[in-house]
Symmetry: D2
Subunit: 482 residues, 4 copies
């Protein structure tokens, strides 16, 4: 390939973007209403002047108020829809005689004209970012106007295709990165807030810190997702030292452990288009190349719904998990200052860790997956639960959401595929022996039989499989914050 | 936006591409057959290890012989297909009760799993170029195996979406461009052959020459389409001076006319995904910005099927176009050397030009569009036929195909949209008065009534409209040479 | 030229710099003392292994404490000196028979071996920045050890040659610039302090603000000098609105006036190597190209020594400048809050402005140039004094140093050369009529005769001319702050 | 450091260079003669308008004919010279009382104003390249006008300082490099002619070939020196296979030997400013980093003056080297076709190799260094003579100059410094045992005593040492071809 030519090549885009966009030379009609522009774009005229019309349409859209945007989406929901008689004819023809030909006809008949509409919108310079912003708006309207779901389905389908991992570019973010990107890192960080530029520098600049982000060539000043990494000698059990330790003047010699301590999605408009899995794996490859001494790849992750789950179980007199002894011990968690005073409370620690093991390994949602959203993400990626850390995050948020617990998920290259398959097939939760050892014996909590004894449910019982893509894009998205 | 960050950002891609790709750290299984890889890629395992499997699959594909590639495509044509019972159910449900919901279900049921298959293939580094190359193979197999049409339909649909003009980048090609790109320009030039590096330099380096190409960020060392331009003081009537005039030591002062004298598509695998229209219009915008003295934008184009058409008409005793006088005069065209000896043959010139006017303005194909493929392209873009040039191309090819004629199409910004609509609605061919004046009067050739008197055929007679995209991608592609 | 190749070309430097420098493969001897390294570098061995020895020497130097660095400089002051017998022989030979040949020999005999020493030091990667830092150290030792002047003379001579304007590159600094450069802008700003990143953004990001810096290719992450510019409709009279006005959402249409409101030298180690003159003129050229509506180029400058001068004159009973009336009126300046209460004190304003006119137009230093250092800089560049602004800077510093005055110097392209020559020849100070009108009549202040009546002192009285370079580098350097 | 900022930073230079340089806004006076411009540049006016005057002066210079350029140099030789009375005064003052102060004064008095003149010329954009071209002109005039030596001394001194290795950038040249650079590689190759673009590609593109060049940031489209390298498994003995072997489809696994088979200086105007030493050593470092399997670094070098030397010795009846037997055997070398017919002539081979060993190890020039210029270069760099290859270059040139011999010089990292010192001190020539074994015994050729027995001549006999720099820049420059 050709480094420098590419660089030049993309100057064009970027330079045009930097200055105000020059007015197109082609005809623009300022008085045209938005509906007229929609119609023009999908008509013959859209073929001759697509770029100019798309530019105008996007410009108009940005000037709209929220309720006008709603109206716009409802308009295209009702107007840009496959012709029902053509669909019906094609459906009948297919039922009559199923064949590749009749199927192809049916596929064409049902394709939503909105897809071509959005593709033509994308002709305008900078339009990809605008479309992502449009989808963010649209997501906000879905609750009020469920009929817009079909518009979202089309737009998401397109973005899923356009933001294919093959088009993304991984870049290191560091102190040499431009201020305009860095301020977005500050704004988008969703796990451990970055408190200004000095805090940011502490995360990017020291020799034992890394940050990587995915970018799309058409959204060049805006990261899609980024991860912050600390290079260490051991698996850390608490976040505070990772965030606040002063930078060492000398980089550590031969770090062995890469700790992914924060991963944040940046674009709400790309909800349901998942990058985290790819990001973590590519960053692992990058780090191995750069720092061959690295052998262990773990996260240091929050446990966002543990406290909520525990409260529910505690209130449930029939809980198979929380014992009477637990209930008594857990009262220590009430005072705001418990974490500083109760650090040495061995009983409390034992109870909480055992309950947390249950939370991770046995508790399941309706879809038969773990209840913890971060666990779902990392286990789904093929990681295993490595360690549950007592007093890992004693920030107000950490205490409130997780009674101070943090966990490590470990990415062991040789196990990723196997773990992912086990997860996908509702097998037992991949975890280390140490975590498993925290579990109370099955005689004590009746839930055991359900999950571990039957590691692989009979296929007949497995839920009907969805199509791969569907599964991908409808899966509960990674939470904004891990 | 951010020039430099983008540059860095794309270094990653390019640097990885330059060296041999490092072996992935993730599990690869060299003994896995191609079919197993196809199945793995669309399965759960494809979600965990998609990048690695896609890489392996593409690697295997490249080692296949032609007949093995055929077998591969036939395999995915038969295997990766929507489940017929699910399609039938959804079709019935829709017919039963047409609604946004039942339509959405039907859309999902009919979506070809090959689309997700190709999207997952694209996860591998460099895969986009491989997919374009795959489609080139596939196009070659369609005649022998028409059942592969459905595979092509899926792949073309995806490429059409991925190579959306919004993702393309226009770049100037000049003597500073890398040798690896320039040798592709030499290879891809399809209109006026480039005879080695010195010839190339004559087209790129002089101050009054320009060359622009579209690139896609994932095919960074390979142009998609390029156009060569000469900046002049007048509309040229012949190609030889444009190609062979020695470079002036001083650039012309304030050129008024930009002449697009060659436009070549580069990627056979993108057949049916059209860029030419966008390229010409963006180059016009670029040139106006750079050289404000430019006022006129014309092509100097070949007339590839004129000789063939004229022969057919001449042989047709019932021709309404070729008169007896013509037949006599046209015998002068027989000797190989006629062009040098007959330059001053006024009768011959008059006959040929009148017949050419007929060829452009009245002769139509079955689809009611002009017979000349280059005319179809430029007129479809909204240009008008500006001039027919006697002895414009006296090369062997020019004489053989067009009896030496060349034409200019003119892009007049204010008329482009109107012309395009006229073209789309089978209205009269947009042309200058000078060209119209070449036409013989209707009394002489009976075809007149058909085309000019009825500038806009009654809508009822217009052919049924296709969906916009369909029209776009199924339209007869621009020929490799203009 | 070749943009992209250059970019690649410099990647090398930068990439090497980013990571820790790889250990050289060539022999390094860690136990070698600094003196041994100095000797090795200037010996034969320095020719074979210059890069490695220079690298080692610079590494050692950085580990030295201040007094060890003094010792190092004293060592090279005494050791690396022309051989006195050779100098004496060459001097005698020249006196004996002055000729080009004997002169050449003398030139060679007197050339300080320290120059070759420093040139060889520069062989090491990144050495240029180290040499600049070394000179900063050296300047701090000169007072204590005047014998080091000869070392400084050699080093300055070299840096003057290496930082020739022909090697500098002008770059716009904006919000896309990397954080590592931007934090240096914050640190180096010497005129109007930048209070953090938000304040920085206010100076760089709005559409009507510009910042430009000179860089040297061997100090790529460190600006040499930068200037901040506001694009306006009028010449401003006060700094506060320039600094604090909220950014307009829309850029001003067709600004007419570029205001250089802050210019800061960055490298103490380059003291005496002046860039400001070149920077201003090139920025004027850049701005004219980018914003053709600009017609007026002015500074908004501090008056750093006005208050001190005025106090001295006031205390001097024999002052020819300060009248009794002035003395009385000036008492109003005493209270800290005078600026807010005395804005409308017409008498005070009249006195101060008249005295300021005297300060600028008549008061001279021993070298017969204006006393104000900023005036010396801009007048020496060929600007003229355009306006003296009452209450231009009411910050604590502005009031303390200049009783709140600020001035505008104007760069009028057609006058620059003439003004510079007048300045160089101790002619009258170039100024607008408005400024001249502030001067009291000569009858009132006796100093008039001295300066304006004799616009050009007879050549015989002019101070002996120095060689051009000497003049350049020994001229009172532009103050760190304008 | 900061990769991307630098890239942006240098865009400025390059972009300005690419288009025609915009007219300066500052005053230019087209009628000013060259002498007036010279005077203006060194005067006060040169300080205010140096950039504009330098630009004009360089523009005028380029329009001059050869004899006008001679006149220009003679003008500055006579005019821009230290004031003789000032030199005399300073010389006397120094002799009177030698002190750092009087020395400093003397240094200033003798500095040639031409140096400041050339430094000011360098203010103009692109001037560095112009100054290099100027020196090329000047070198051509030296023979006719020896008085211009003083001008050359000044200019060379400046270029020596400006082209310090610390400012140079090493870049790989490959098939991604721009055509404008590559055509210069073709033009500058001085050892083994490159016959067009295909030949060039064979040297750059295969996976086992490398090419590296030094660039200066102010001459960005013009290499200073470049070296071509082949990665191999063994030390090659002949050039033809290196040049003509077809590219392997697969890169060699783990090459052990890097062969520098061609090194060419590019800029005649930089004669005497030597880069080759630095280039080879840095390329060795680069290659070791990229290809860790490399252990051996050798050249494959021509022997340009062997045939001439041998002829002289043969004609010299008193030769201590050529025996009667040799004379007889050497007659076989006469016929043009001897190389193909005499390959197996063991006697001839023995004679020639023995004589060549003498040529390299014993024959000395007047300066007591080897007679072979390529040997002087590599031995001076610290390499050793590794092997003498029979029939290494059977091209017409190879046979004519060296009777087909080629040699390998080996760069052994641990020996470089020692070898260089031996060379500098006229010690024995560093060579392998195999080469030494080719030498005839001392009894046979009387020259032995002279060189090997006295490995280190007593210091007293060593020629007086020159100052380091002088030595560097006056040393016989590396020949254009190696």
């Amino acid at each position: 390939m050709n480094v420098s030519f590419l660089q030049e090549l993309l100057n064009t885009v970027a330079e045009q973007g930097r200055s105000l966009l020059p007015k197109s030379l082609f005809r623009e009609d300022p008085d045209r209403g938005l509906q007229a522009l929609v119609q023009a774009l999908v008509s013959e005229r859209g073929e001759a002047s697509g770029v100019a019309i798309a530019r105008q349409l996007l410009h108009h859209y940005k000037l709209l108020k929220a309720e006008e945007r709603e109206a716009f989406f409802r308009y295209i929901a009702h107007t840009l829809t496959p012709e029902s008689s053509r669909v019906a004819d094609a459906a009948r023809a297919y039922l009559d005689k199923p064949s590749p030909g009749s199927l192809l006809n049916l596929q064409k008949a049902v394709e939503s004209p909105r897809q071509e509409f959005f593709r033509r919108l994308n002709l305008a310079p900078g339009a990809t970012a605008d479309l992502v912003a449009m989808r963010r708006d649209l997501l906000g309207f879905l609750k009020k106007y469920p009929e817009l779901t079909v518009v979202d389905s089309d737009l998401r389908h397109l973005l899923y295709s356009w933001f294919n991992r093959g088009f993304l570019v991984l870049r290191r973010i560091d102190w040499q990165t431009s201020a305009s990107i860095l301020e977005k890192i500050i704004a988008y960080e969703a796990v451990h807030e970055i408190k200004g530029w000095e805090d940011l520098r502490r995360r990017l600049d020291p020799a034992d810190r890394r940050c990587f982000a995915f970018f799309h060539p058409s959204l060049i000043d805006d990261p899609l997702i980024f991860v912050e990494v600390a290079l260490m000698q051991d698996i850390p059990g608490a976040i505070a030292p990772v965030l606040h330790e002063p930078a060492k003047s000398e980089p550590i010699e031969n770090p062995t452990t890469a700790v992914f301590y924060s991963i944040s999605n940046c674009q709400e408009g790309l909800k349901g288009v998942s990058f985290g899995n790819f990001l973590i794996k590519q960053v692992v490859e990058e780090l191995v190349r750069e720092v061959p001494s690295l052998k262990t790849f773990v996260t240091l992750s929050p446990v966002p719904t543990f406290a909520r789950w525990l409260e529910k179980e505690s209130l449930d007199a029939a809980s198979e998990v929380v014992t009477e002894e637990d209930r008594e011990v857990l009262t220590s968690l009430k005072p705001a200052s418990w974490a500083s005073s109760e650090q040495e409370n061995a009983e409390l620690k034992a109870s909480v860790l055992a309950l947390a093991a249950d939370y991770f390994l046995r508790a399941k949602s309706a879809d038969n997956k773990p209840v913890d959203p971060v666990a779902r993400f990392h286990l789904g990626n093929g990681a295993r639960l490595e360690r549950i850390n007592w007093l890992g995050d004693t920030s107000e948020k950490g205490l409130r959401e997780a009674h101070g617990l943090m966990v490590n998920y470990r990415y062991e290259l040789k196990e990723i595929e196997k773990n992912h398959e086990a997860y996908a097939n509702d097998g037992p939760v991949a975890c280390s022996r140490a975590v498993k050892a925290l579990l109370r014996s099955p005689s004590k909590t009746k839930s055991f039989v359900k999950t571990v004894v039957q590691p692989e449910p009979p296929k007949a019982l497995a839920p009907p499989k969805k199509s791969p893509e569907e599964d991908k894009i409808e899966a509960p998205a990674m939470p904004k914050a891990e």
